[in-house]
Every structure is written in C-alpha cells, then in structure tokens.
Symmetry: D2
Subunit: 388 residues, 4 copies
C-alpha cells in the first residue's frame, strides 16, 4: 500500500519551474494574438509568475530567456524575484533570432557566426553567475532545410567544439542541459534531433552535462517514458520541458493532449528516484499557449503536473513489482491503471489546505483581481513576446 | 511505347501557377529572415513572377492572396500582369490574420465574426470579377486547440452555411476550391482536416466546388496519390498546392523532399486525364521558402514539377496495364520505375530550345541581372511578407 | 448539472459487441502464442462470450467472422447464443486468407477472383438471414504493395461494382458497414484507406450503407473524434471497432493506450445522439490481445468502454455550451476535463449492483472457476485462431 | 569533378549481403502466401542466393538466421556456399519464436528464460566459429504491450547483463551488431527502440559492439541519414538492414518506397568513408517480400542498392563543399540533386559488362531457367518460411 502521508509530503515539496516567455504573447507563423495586460519587461513577467506561485505553492522558479529577458542589472532582477518568493531558474540561450543565424549558430559554416554564438552562450554563463542560476539550458534552432545544404558531420564537429568551450566555462555548481528536437524551424535535419545525439555529446563533455526532455520534440509514436527511464538509469536526465502536443511541437498546456502519457512519464520518474532532490531533475514548463489567458493557463499546467505527480506517487509499487515478476500482464497493468483512474483532486485540495493555500488555485487567482489590475495598468510600452 | 512528340507537346502546354507570397519574405514562428530586393507591393510581385515565366515558359499564372495583395484598382493589376505575359490566377481568401479571428472565422461561435469573414469571402469574389480569376481558393485556419474548446459539429454547420452563401455568389465560370489541412495553426482540430471533409462539403455545394490537394497537409503515411486518383475519378480535383515536407507543413520547394512521391502523384494525374484542359485542374505552387533566394527557388520548383511531369508522361501505360492485368507485381512496378529512373533533363532542355527558351532556366535568370536590379532599386518601403 | 439517474439508465442499457476472434489465439507475423483453454469452435467462443456478458451485463452481442466461425447450422448457433443470453451480431466477411486473394479480392484484376469474393459476401448475407444479424461488416485487405502494381482507379471501379451487387442483396432490415484502414496487410495503398473513401462509397450505395470506425486504423495525428462527429452529423456512422494502438494497428485492449482519446470519442457520441438506439451505432470491440489472458482481457475492454461512456455522459453539456459560446477556451476545456478526471468506478459499481451484478466483473469472473474449467476440458482438437 | 573510373572500381568491389530468409515464404499476421519452388532447407537457400550473385556479381555474402538455418554440420554449409562463390555472413540470433519468449527473452523477468536466451546467443557464436562469420547480429523482439507490464529499467539491466556475457565470448575478429526497432511485435515499448539505446549499450560493451541501422525501424519523420552520419563519425555503424517502408516495418524491396532516401543515406556513407573496407560496414538486405517472386525481388533490391550507390559516388564533393562553405543553399542542394537525377543504369550496365556479366541481371536470371528448375524439382518437403 502506498503511504499517503509520504505522498503528501512529496507533493508539498515539489518545485515546478515556469517559463518567463509563457507570460508573454506567442503564436504561430500565421499570427500572434496579443492579450491585454501582458508584461512589458522581465520584472513584470516575474510579477505574473509570483501570482502562479501564490496560487499553487509549487512554482517558485522562473526560467529566463536571453536576450528576451536581458536587463542591465541581473542582481536587481534576482532581488525582484526574491521579494516575491521566487528564484531565477535556468538561463535559456537564444541563438536563433538574429539575421546572422539564418544558416545556423554554433554549427554555422562561417566561423565568425559561430564565434558570435559561442560568445552569447558564455555571456549566459556570466548571467548565471549574477542570478545564481544553476542551469544553462541550450536549445539550438540549428539545422538544414534541404539535403546537401550543409555537411551533417561537419556540423557535429562544430557543435562539439562550441559545447566544449562553454562547458569549460561553467562553475562547479553549474550545469549545461542540452535539449533535442526532431524538427522546426529546420525541416530537413536539426543538429540535435534526438536524445541519443544529446546524450552522446553530454557523455563526452562530462558529468555536469545532461539531457533535456521536451515532451513535444519527438516523432509520432516515440515512447517518451522509455527515454526518461533510460536517462535516469544513466544519471543523465537534466530537465523536463513539459508541454502538450497532438501533432508537432504544439506547445499547448501540459497534460492537455495526453494526460495518460504525462502520468506514465512521471511514473518512471517516481519509480527511478527522479523526484529525489539529489537527482537534480528540473521540472520545467515550456509552453506557448496562444489563444487562452496567460496566467490561468500556466496555473492549469502546474495543476496538471501536480495531478499527474500525485497519481504517479499513488502507484502501489510493491503490488506492481509482484505482478511484473509473476508475468501477470493484466494484473500489472491494472495496478498502474488503478492509480491513474483515481481522482486525485480531493487529495490535492487537502494538500493545499494543509499548506495554507486556497484549495482551488484558479479561483484563488481570479479572486485576487490581478488580471484586471494588469489590464488596467500595463498600458503603453511594448508587450513581451517571442522576439521581444 | 510512349509517343515522345506528344510528351513534348504536353510539356510545352503545361501551365503552372506561382504564388504571389512566394516572392515575399516568410519564415517560421521563430524568425522571418528578410531578403534584399523582396517586393514591396503586388505589382513588384508580378514583376518577379514574370521573371519566372520568362525563364521557364510555363508559369503564366499568379495566385493572389487578399488582403496581402489588396490594391485599389484590380483592373490595373490585371493589366500589369498582362503586359508581362501573365494572368491573375486564384484569389486566396485570408481570414486568419485579424484579432477577431482568434477562435475562428467562418466557424467562429460569434455570428458577428462569421459575418465579417463571409463578407471578406464575398469581397474576394468581387475581386475575381475584376481580375478575371476563375478560382476562389479557400483555406481556413479555423479549428480548436483544446478538447471541448468548441463544438465540432456546430462548427461544421457554420462552415456549411458560410460556404453555401459564398457558392451562391459565384459567377457561372467561377469555381470554389476548398483546401483541407490536418493541423496548424489549430492544434487539436481543424474544421477541414482531410479530403473527405472537403469533398463532403463540395458534394453538397454543387459541381463548381472542388477539392484542393496541398501536398504538405496530410498525416504521416498518407498516400496522397490515392486521394488524387480518387478525386479525379469523382471529377472533384480542383487544384494542387505543391510544396515539400519532411515532417509537418514545411512548405519547402516542390519535389525537394520526396521527388518519387511527386512523380507518383503526377502519374495518377496523367493516367486519369488530369492534364487535359477540360479537367480544369490547377497546378499551383504554395511554398514558403525561408532561407534560400526567392525567385530562383520558385524557378527550381517549376522545373521540378516539369521534370516529374515529363517522367509521368513517359510511363508506358500499355506495358503497365498489361503487367497489371497479368498480376506481374515486379513487372508492373518496373514499368513505372523505368520512367522514374530516366533522366529527363535533356528532354526538357530540348523542349525549352524548341520554345525559344534558354535550356537552363536558372542560368537564364542569373544572366538577366534582375536580382542585382531589384536589390539595388527596391530600397525603402516595407517588404512584402506574410501579413503584409 | 448532469442528471445522474439518466446516466445510470444509459449505462445499464448500453450494449457492447464482443468479437468471436477475441476468444481465440492471435499474434503478430513473428509468433502466435497459444493459450490453454482457448475455444476450438464457434460454440465454445459463445460460451466464453457468455462469461463476459455474465460478468459485465452489457455484452450481449457477439460478432462472427466467416469462415472462421462457419458452421453447418447457423440456426443452431443462434440458439446456442440465445440459451446463454446472447445474440449474434455482425457477420464479418473474410476475403484475405485464401491463396486466390494474394493480389486482392473484390478489387483483384482477375474477374474470376472477384466473382469468388463477391459470392462469399453474398453467402455472408445468407448467414445473416439465418442468424438474424443486422450488419454485414466489410473489411477488405485489398491493396497493393508497390507503386504501379495495379491501377488505383480501376480497383475503385471493381470495388464499387462488388459493393453494389452485395448491397442489392441486403434485406430491408439489414445494413452494410464498410471499414477503412490506412495500411496492413497492403503497404503501398489499401483500397479503402480512410473514412472519406468509405463514406463516398456508402453515399452511392444508399442509406443502409454506413462507415465503420476502427480506432486503430488511422495515420498518426488523426483526430478520430472529429471523424465520429462528422459521420454522426451525416447519419453515416455505422459501427465502432474499438481497440488500442500506440503505433500501428496494434489491436490492444480498448482504452489501454489512450483513455483520454476514448473518452473524447464517446463524448462526441454522447453529444451528437449516438447512444440513442434509433441511431443504430454498433459498439463493437475488435481486439487481438496476444499475450494476456483472453476472457479477462475482453472484460477489461468492456469495463474500459463503460468507464469512458460514464465519463462522457457526465459532461455538463449546458456548462460546456455556455463556455463555448462565450469563447472561454480554458473554461470550456475545464468542463470537459472535470468529467474526464472523475473516478467513475464507484458509479459503475453502483450501477452493477443495481443490476444484480457483482460490482467487480474481473473478480466475478475469477470466482466462477470458468478459466480452470476450460483449461481442463478443452483438450484435444484445434484451437481457434486467426485462420481457423 | 567526380572520377568515373574510381566510381566504377568502387561499384565493382561492393559487397551486398542477402538474407537467407528472403528466399523463403513470408507474410503478414493475416496470411503467408506460399510460392512454388521455395527452398526447403539452408542449402537450397544458398543455391538461390548463388543465382543472385551470379546475376549481379556483388552479392557474395548470405546472412543466416538461427534456428531457421540450423544444420548439423556448419562446415558443410560453409563449403556448400564456397563451392557457389558465396561466403556465410552474419549469424542472426532468434529468441522470439518459442513459447518461453512470450514476455521477452534476454529481458524476461524470469532468470530461467533469460538463461535459455543467452545460451542461444552463445550457441550462435559457436556457429560463427564454424562458419567463419564475423558478425553476431542481434535483434530482440523483447518489449511490453501495456504500460506497467514490466519495469523498463529492470529490463535494461537484464539486457546489459546478457549482452555483456555474450560480448565476452566473442573471438578477436568477431563483432556484435545490435539492432534497434521502434515497435513490433511489442507495441508499448521495445527494449532497444532507437539508435541511442543501441549506441549506449555498445559504448559500454567495447569497440567490437556496433549499431545496426534497419531502414524500416524508425518513427515517421526520422532522418535516417543523420543517424548514419552520426554513427560513422563515432565509428559505431556496424551494418545496414536495407528494406523499404511506407508506414511501419513493411520490409519491402530496398529503394522501392523512397529511392531518394536510400540515395541520401548512401551519400552520407560515401562522404564519411563508410564504403572503405576497413570501416567494416556490412551492407545487408533484410526484406520480406510477400507477394512478388522471391529471387527476382532480391536481384531488384541489389540493383537498387547499386544504383543508389552509383549516384552517391557521383556526387561532386568538391563542388558540394564549396557551395556549403559559401552558404549557397540552392547551389549545394543542386549539386546533390544533379547526382540523384542522373540515370546511372547505363553506367551500371557498363560496369557489369566490364566484369563479364550480363548488363541486365533480371534478364540474365530469367535466361538461366532456374525458376522453372526449382519449381519442378523442389517438390515435397516443407517450404522454408519464417519459423521454419
């Protein structure tokens, strides 16, 4: 039997990292729909993230994206966060929104462009020093659109060289986490298309290089929880980028497209010790919800991660292992489904009340009047969005 | 044996329609990379399209996109086209780039938004009257991002109602061609996700409603040539939107990702009479090539369609049918592959020379100096792109 | 608010049809794993199906597969069913397991093979007359493995001709339900690859021709509930073949791979009147569970359909429609998710108790001792399996 | 410019390995269609393989599958091969066709089953000693069908342990090549689903463990040539299993579904030194062509590999690299396409004539009368097929 008080303790200590860009405008190549009240700068993004943390109690970390969140004084930004009960999380480098990067950044054929890109990555480590962030999060838009456009292995050489220089710059308590992505914006090849590529580079770099699993970055039919389990076994799971997809990298709210998959992933995390602090797995959200209200959508995603976590923690591992050892296919599956089919919302309401929170985070947020406040006061200036 | 002179005649009379938006800037949600010399208005787009036609001899038609190509005087635009040996082709309606359309256009829950969208479609028919365009081309970005967001069947009702009103407005020689798309920008459902949906609506509308097959709008594994053959059999293939994809709707140059598929599609067209003028199948390109030179990329796509067409026309149909009737799997496949494996570039060079064209369209374009000219002279103003 | 007693009534009157072949051995191309106690003939299959119905109370119908379930006297088989509280459901024709069908059955290039196949279909209608079955269920393995192997449109002609002859033979209360499948066993094209093809043929045949949606027969990323909603709107949804897939046509237990998808499908059924008897939608299982215990796996699938149905019936449609009309994306999604996140197992236990059933069907079946009985007594003979 | 005589030399020295099981009957889970004249034992399979080699001149190696090709005296089998100008190639282990393996072989929860499976692998190394084969080729059908069925990481432990024991048993000149496969026959997880998993195990085993790339074993949208290039860069590409797929693991003739992909793969091989003998990349076919004539289908596959190889060797690498270095997207792609669009069949006819072969391998085979001979003489006995 599962120990319910241990489950509650785990749920209370969970830390989910929300992305600064989740508070700004976003869209598709067809249209970005602006929303009233959206932040104009990183400080306002933190203000919104603080609302999410206030409502849920489990979202104290905020990822930054440089240069979208570039400020003159990062210590000031960190202080702004601290005042609101937040900490600055991963620093996401961005080497895809300047004209120089049309054919790549760290893998570009031109060494001058590569130099520029690596310098940006090194600058991000400087920022980590200032913000106290642990993780340099690397996703490269690099790749090619056409067969023959560039040399696949030459690009791997350039990638390895860039990563190596940046890894050497990391402080002792800092990590590099390397994301992979099947496609988009490059359509023929990306330079880190799958976990194997990221893993192979991490192995060569050293123990502080780890893999990021973005749940939207796989080919159809890929068993993501297998990858999660495998990386945990190897000690190379650095972070999640949670979001949902029906087709491609749709970046929808976490758990909205396939809640059972999210549960299965978190079951592997639970079973393989991934919730233990010393594993240092970062549970980040990375969503670009284009048409629904910004802050409530992040709250909903946080709640969905909590619910899936609760279900994962409720799996009766002893019963599961007994059925597995006995080759009881239906019995083992039933143990897992029992946890999944449980309605954990009452449990989470209890957990929140024990933490002094409103049991209903969305209602709690609505009651704050924050949404009206920001719509009324964030007038003028330029709304934050991808690219700003 | 295939009659080579008939093949040449067919190749000379082929008409490929290029998209006005293929001459402007485009990109992904991550970045639009601008190119020097890109047109600032529809007249300049036609100037570029004229270069493609001059180089290839088979691209006399240009599709417009409203409001991207809105002008005060469409007769003037048509005259501009005519002076350059061009004709204005399909009018593409656009109901996806205004804030009102965040939750849909003709399928929006709010009747006011639907009215606005239908009025735009009717306006497009007015434009057709002015330009002499035959086809109203409809692609709807409408759909939903989340389960439950809106009612699937209610949206079908609204769609049917809108199409019906617009169809009634068409002149006798005008057609409505309805595109389908699996996903993007809507991620959970689109309102016309597959050919079956488009076909079912067309059936109810009448004989001048036909289906558009965009080669990038299918789920992985879909056999597109089956759809083409089926629609030709039913007399409901209205047009192609040719482009290439490796993963999603990548909108790359035609024939660049899977030239064998393009050949198979055109083989079904050839075998089922789709190249005959009275079938009125429009052979359009719809590509958004983001990183390569604009005009040469369109020329390359036109050439790729020509080469695949030539191969399709070279298939020895008598031999093919004999092998098929005999149940000779390897033999029938070999007949098809013989045509595909033929290098048709010498044949096309001959065809071009017989038409008084340079045998090498890309070299011919390079020799015109047009690229330098537009880079030098198209200074100032706002470059055309998606949304402008 | 949802009316709970109406939900219970609906759940009690649900009828799920189980497949005779689900009680026999099955496997992949690599291996069929035999199980002890598996039936040797259709009578024993019915005995097993009766256990499923006894345990669940909602599985009174059994689909047959001809010739796998061919018997000398179908009236005797129907009587055997009736004695066990069962009725014979759809008759599934099989035109794929004889050497003649290597290159197709009703679409074969050779008219003699087509004649043989059509005669088999007509024979199946004779059997329907004898068994009182309403539905002739047609799935054709027909298709091609290689481009050029046979003519796509010629095969459509042959298909139309065959269907037309068989449709004309149907009695007034009989229906033809036509299944589609993306691929397998044909790898290049199938002759009915998608719902659009099936729908187009049904339209031409008449009102008693309807489409079968097998949940495992779609390309990755296909939104199945859209198809279900569309067909219900058109009055052309004939039947479901429920099963689960992670990749291809895996034929796993219903609801085991994506329970949320099953819920979304049944939500469309509920919302569009598909549970009403006069709609005549058949809720069939079509699974080939290869490695788990046969009867318990079918019980589990039935329970999974029940649970998804219960959740679908619990959706607060008034609240949903209000949120949809208001364009409240998060609110509308939340209404749907509220129902999905509900643990309906207590409700179903109640329903069963009110029907005089054991609240736990799997425990009830285990308690019967039937499994030991069949293992002990079904000795000798040839176990039923695909092909036998 | 490409050196044509070097291309010819490379083509003449190419060695393609054909699979013994490609000469026997095969099929899908729905039906195995038997063909007259199919071999009854491994000796007859070698006789057929000798025909392929005689016709093409480049197929001197034959892979065996144990126990399908088990014989009492492997030295006799090797001698039989040698007399026909053949050599015995990879030994394929088979741990998926016994009842014990229902839930896995080397990853089975029961140590007794694992022991049995490992013993079989060790026996395969014994056979390699007898046949002089270099490669132990491992593909495991191991996996699970349902979430929770077994423990993903525990299965990895068992896999690692088994591989380690077998690797230790290899002789100095022997290798282990480990295949991966996304799905089938396991539907939820396989235990080696992707190249990353295989690669990670190989790294730990040692330098003589390498990855097998089966072109049919990937998720839709996977860029296979990227994997090939990456593995070549790492020195870990052991072998290819060539075949074609449209959807899943269709095992069709090589190059029949996407000849451009085959070319791109072989372009990466050529560019990264993979055709050099010291790289020891094995070029195997692994196809199960179900409906077409056996020997001609293998000949056709061999020819398709030759043609794609010829095109890959014709790529003007200097021009390609210059265009890549200049960031000339269209130019670089054009260099590649120039080679692909070349009709290399005349070149291959020349090559064959210079080798003293008939320029048309299929006509040469037809002229031998072998097909009639085997149909007439291979009467009685049991035809070889999967499982026999």
């Amino acid at each position: 039997m599962t120990d319910l008080s241990a489950v509650k303790t785990a749920l209370k200590s969970q830390e989910i990292e929300t992305p600064s860009w989740g508070y700004g405008n976003s869209g598709t190549r067809f249209k970005v729909f602006a929303q009233p009240g959206v932040p104009r700068d990183p400080f306002e993004k933190l203000d919104d993230a603080a609302q999410v943390h206030a409502a849920t109690g489990v979202a104290p970390l905020v990822s930054l994206h440089i240069p979208w969140d570039a400020v003159d004084d990062y210590a000031e930004l960190a202080a702004h966060a601290k005042e609101r009960g937040l900490r600055l999380g991963a620093i996401n480098a961005n080497t895809f929104q300047e004209d120089d990067y049309k054919l790549g950044s760290v893998t570009h054929p031109d060494p001058k462009v590569r130099r520029k890109a690596v310098d940006h990555l090194l600058e991000c480590v400087d920022i980590m020093d200032a913000t106290g962030s642990r993780d340099l999060k690397l996703w490269f838009a690099d790749g090619t659109n056409y067969p023959g456009q560039d040399d696949i292995t030459a690009r791997q050489e350039r990638l390895a060289e860039a990563l190596s220089e940046v890894y050497a710059r990391l402080g002792e308590d800092q990590r590099m986490v390397l994301e992979y992505k099947l496609f988009e914006p490059a359509f023929y090849t990306t330079d880190v298309p799958d976990w194997g590529t990221s893993y192979a580079h991490c192995l060569k770099l050293g123990p502080r290089a780890k893999v990021v699993v973005d749940t939207g970055h796989h080919a159809p039919g890929t068993n993501i929880e297998f990858i999660v389990a495998f990386l945990l076994r190897e000690g190379r799971l650095g972070a999640f980028d949670f979001n949902s997809r029906f087709y491609a990298d749709d970046d929808l709210m976490v758990g909205s497209a396939d809640p059972f998959q999210l549960f299965r992933i978190l079951h592997e995390v639970a079973k393989n010790g991934g919730f233990e602090k010393e594993q240092e797995v970062a549970f980040m959200l990375d969503q670009c919800h284009n048409i629904e209200a910004k802050i409530p959508a992040v709250i909903r995603s946080v709640m969905n991660v909590q619910e899936a976590t609760a279900k994962a923690l409720l799996v009766d591992l002893d019963a599961l292992r007994a059925a597995q050892a006995a080759g009881d296919v239906l019995g083992a599956n039933a143990v897992l489904m029992d946890a999944y089919n449980t309605d954990v919302r009452p449990l989470l309401r209890e957990v929140r009340e024990e933490q002094g929170l409103d049991p209903d985070p969305l209602a709690a947020y609505a009651a704050t009047g924050w949404q009206d406040h920001i719509v009324a006061t964030r007038v003028g200036g330029t709304q934050a969005g991808w690219g700003a």
